[in-house]
Symmetry: none
Subunit: 400 residues, 2 copies
C-alpha cells in the first residue's frame, strides 16, 4: 500500500460576509468525491491556535516535531538551491541589494537584477574564506540567494544584516548569544568584502551605464543552523518523493531525505504525470501546490476560487489514474490563509483520507463547513503519518 499526501498550500479560509469561503464557493466535484468516499475531519498542522509556516506545518504533518527539528528558513533556502549542507553549517537567505557609499540601502532588490547577472556575481562571493570560515553562496530565483558559513564554533543567533526597509543603513550584525559571536564577526567582515568585490564589478558598471541600480551588497536574514535529522526512509522504511513548486518545500524535502521533483508553478499536467510515474517507484509521495496561498497573500478571493477549481481538475486526473486498493490518498492543507488576513492563520484545515478500508463518514463535501462533522474529528499534523502507517500496516504494536 502506497501513500500520497496532497497539500494545497493555504487552503483554508474564513467566511466572507455571505458566509462563504473560496473552498465552499468553488466548484470542486473531485474534492467532494474524495470527501464522500473517504473519512474527513479538521487538521491543525502543529496544534490548535498555533499559526504555522509552510515549513513547520509540513514538518509536523510528516511526523517531525517542528519544535525539535525546525532550523529556521536559512538552511531550507540553501537546501532548496541544492547546496549540500553539513551538520553545523549556518545558513541565511539573502537579497542582492543596492547601497550607497555609506551603506545606506537604496534598493532592497537591486532593481530586481536578473538571474543571469546573479550567476556571475555569485562567483565573486562563493568560496571566500574569513578567519577559517568557508563562505558558500548560491543565487536563487530573481534577486535572491542563499549564504552558508561553514566552520568551527558558529552559532545561528545573530541579528539580520538587512534593515528590511530602504533608506536605512545596513545594520551591524550582532550576536544574540556567546556561541554566535564568531558568526556575527565573519558576516560583518563578509559584507565589507562583498561591497568591495561587487561595487565596481563589470556587471555593475554595465548597470550603472544603463541607469539601473547596482547589486553591490547582499543582505543576509533568517539565519539558522543545519542539523542532520532522521531521514524519512530510516524513520518510516518508505522510499519518498516530493513534488513541489517552491524552493522552501524543496529544501524541506531535501532536509528529511525525500527525493524531489521541482515543477514550474501551476504546471498541473506535469504534476499529474510525475505523481502517476512516481507511484511506480516510490512508497510515499508528498505534493505541495502553492497558488491558493499566493491568492490569499494577494487578498484575491476570486483568484483563490479559480485556483481551487484548477486544482480540482488536476485531482480528477489523479484519482482517475490511481487505484483505491493500492494507494491511500490524503487531501489537505498545511494551514489556512484567510483572504482577510493575507497571511497564514491558525484556523484548522479540512482533511480527507481516501482509500480502501477507511471508515467512510457522512461528509460529502470538502470544505471548512462540512469536514468538521467527519469521523476524524479534529486531529493534529502529528497524527497524520501515524494514522497512515496504521492503515498501511506499517505500525508497531505497543504491548501484547
Amino acid at each position: 500500500m502506497k501513500i500520497v499526501i496532497f497539500i494545497i498550500d493555504g487552503v483554508g479560509d474564513r467566511p466572507n460576509k455571505y458566509g462563504l469561503t473560496p473552498l465552499k464557493e468553488a466548484n470542486t466535484p473531485n474534492m467532494d468525491k474524495l470527501a464522500e468516499e473517504g473519512i474527513t475531519g479538521l487538521m491543525s498542522a502543529i496544534d490548535i491556535g498555533i499559526r504555522p509556516g509552510s515549513d513547520t506545518a509540513h514538518l509536523s504533518i510528516l511526523g517531525y516535531n517542528p519544535y525539535k527539528y525546525y532550523s529556521g528558513r536559512g538552511p531550507l533556502e540553501a537546501l532548496g538551491v541544492d547546496i549540500e549542507l553539513k551538520d553545523g553549517d549556518v545558513a541565511f537567505r539573502c537579497n542582492f541589494a543596492t547601497v550607497d557609499e555609506n551603506f545606506t540601502v537604496v534598493d532592497r532588490r537591486a532593481g530586481r537584477i536578473s538571474e543571469e547577472e546573479d550567476k556571475i556575481l555569485e562567483k565573486e562571493i562563493d568560496g571566500i574564506e574569513i578567519d577559517g570560515v568557508k563562505i558558500i553562496f548560491k543565487s536563487s530565483k530573481g534577486y535572491r540567494g542563499a549564504l552558508v558559513l561553514r566552520g568551527e564554533n558558529l552559532g545561528d543567533k545573530v541579528t539580520d544584516g538587512d534593515p528590511h526597509i530602504e533608506g536605512k543603513k545596513v545594520p551591524e550584525i550582532k550576536a544574540l548569544n556567546k556561541e554566535s559571536k564568531k558568526t556575527a564577526e565573519v558576516l560583518n567582515k563578509l559584507l565589507k568584502i562583498v561591497y568591495e568585490k561587487l561595487n565596481n564589478h563589470p556587471i555593475n558598471e554595465e548597470r550603472r551605464k544603463k541607469n539601473l541600480p547596482v547589486a553591490n551588497i547582499i543582505l543576509p536574514r533568517g539565519g539558522g543552523i543545519y542539523r542532520e535529522v532522521p531521514k524519512f526512509y530510516e524513520k518510516y522504511n518508505m522510499r519518498g518523493l516530493c513534488i513541489c513548486e517552491t524552493g522552501l518545500i524543496k529544501g524541506l524535502a531535501k532536509m528529511i531525505g525525500l527525493d524531489v521533483e521541482e515543477v514550474k508553478v501551476g504546471d498541473y499536467d506535469t504534476i499529474v504525470k510525475k505523481l502517476i510515474d512516481g507511484l511506480k517507484k516510490y512508497d510515499f509521495i508528498l505534493v505541495n501546490v502553492k497558488l491558493a496561498n499566493e491568492a490569499s497573500h494577494d487578498g484575491d478571493y476570486n483568484k483563490k476560487v479559480k485556483v481551487l477549481e484548477d486544482i480540482d481538475k488536476m485531482l480528477g486526473e489523479i484519482i482517475k489514474n490511481i487505484n483505491k486498493d493500492d494507494v491511500y490518498f490524503v487531501l489537505t492543507g498545511d494551514h489556512s490563509s484567510p483572504i482577510e488576513v493575507k497571511d497564514h492563520s491558525a484556523d484548522p484545515v479540512p482533511i480527507v483520507i481516501w482509500g480502501k478500508s477507511v471508515r467512510v463518514d457522512d461528509v460529502k463535501e470538502f470544505n471548512e463547513f462540512s469536514c468538521y462533522k467527519g469521523g476524524l474529528h479534529w486531529i493534529k499534523g502529528e497524527h497524520v503519518m501515524k494514522i497512515l502507517l496504521d492503515l498501511t500496516n506499517r505500525c508497531d504494536k505497543f504491548g501484547a
Copy 2:
C-alpha cells in the same frame, strides 16, 4: 454509585467491500439500547494512531500511563499464574520445547505436552538457585510457563532464549545493557541445568517410549522487570474486581491490585452471575471478553458477527439486572482488530457511557459509523476513569 467497564477485546473493525463491519452487521439490540440511552463517542486507548496491545490498552483505560507502568509481557504472565511478584523480579514467558543434543529446537511446543506432565516437570525447575538468584517457575496453559528470577542486580534487557522457529539452535541469551549482564548469565546457566534435569526425566522417558517429543528445555522470551505500581484502591478509593477469561488480563488486574474472577472462555452465564454478584461487594468491575478478538486474529468475519451477537445477549442479561441509578456502565473495546489485518490496529473503538445523568446524545447504534457522531467526540483511554470519577462524584476539584 458503582462503575462497570465492559471491554469487548478487539471490538472495532474496518469496513469490508460492502462498507460493513462485524459490529455494524451484527444484530445487537442491547448494545444499541445502551447507545441510545447513553453518551457515545470514539476512544483511542493510548493515543490517536498508536496501535495498542491489550495489556497497554487496559492500563491506559484504567488510568495507568502505559509508557510509565508497562513492564512487558513476562511479569503479567507470571502474575496471571498466581506467582506473587516482588519489586525488581525479572519475569519471562516460556515454552516447554524439545531440543536435540546440540540444543537445536526440534519442537517449539514439546508436542503440546499436557498440563499434567508440565506440573511434574515444573517442580524440577522451580526453586533452583544460581549465583544467589532464586528461580521461580510455574507452568500455565498447555505447554507454557512463567519464569521469574529473584535476586540483586537483575535487569530485564536481554535477548530472548527462543529462536522463535524450529530447526535453529537455542540462542545464547545476551545482555542488552550493563544492568542486565547477570540476568543473561543466570539464564544461560539455567537452560543447561534444565536440560540436564529434564532430558532423562521419567516423564520424558515415558514420552520417548511413545515416540512423543520430550520437554527437555524451556525457551524464555518477553522479559520484563516487575515494579510495584499504585494499587487501584489506593488510587481511586474503590474496591475493584476484574472478571476475565485470559491470563494476560488476569495478570494485569493483579498488577494493579484488582481482585480477579477468572472465567472459562465464552462462559457468559457465569460472567453475568459474577458481575451481578460482584456489584454487591465491589465499587468497580472491569470485564474483558476475548472471543471477538480471537475471531479477528483468525480473520473470520462471520465468527466475529456471531460472537458480538452472543455478547449482546449477555449484555441484555446484565442491563436487565442493574439499575441505571446505581451503576455507570461503560461499553467499549481495548482496540480495534480488523478482520483484514488479523491483528490489533490503531483505529479507535466506539464507546458508550450509560447511566443516570449522562448527556444523552443523538446516537442510537453502537458501532464505528454511529458513535463518531456522539457527545464524547474522540477521547483517549486516559480520559475514561476521569470522566467516571467525575460522574460518580469522586473527582477532586482543582481550584476554588
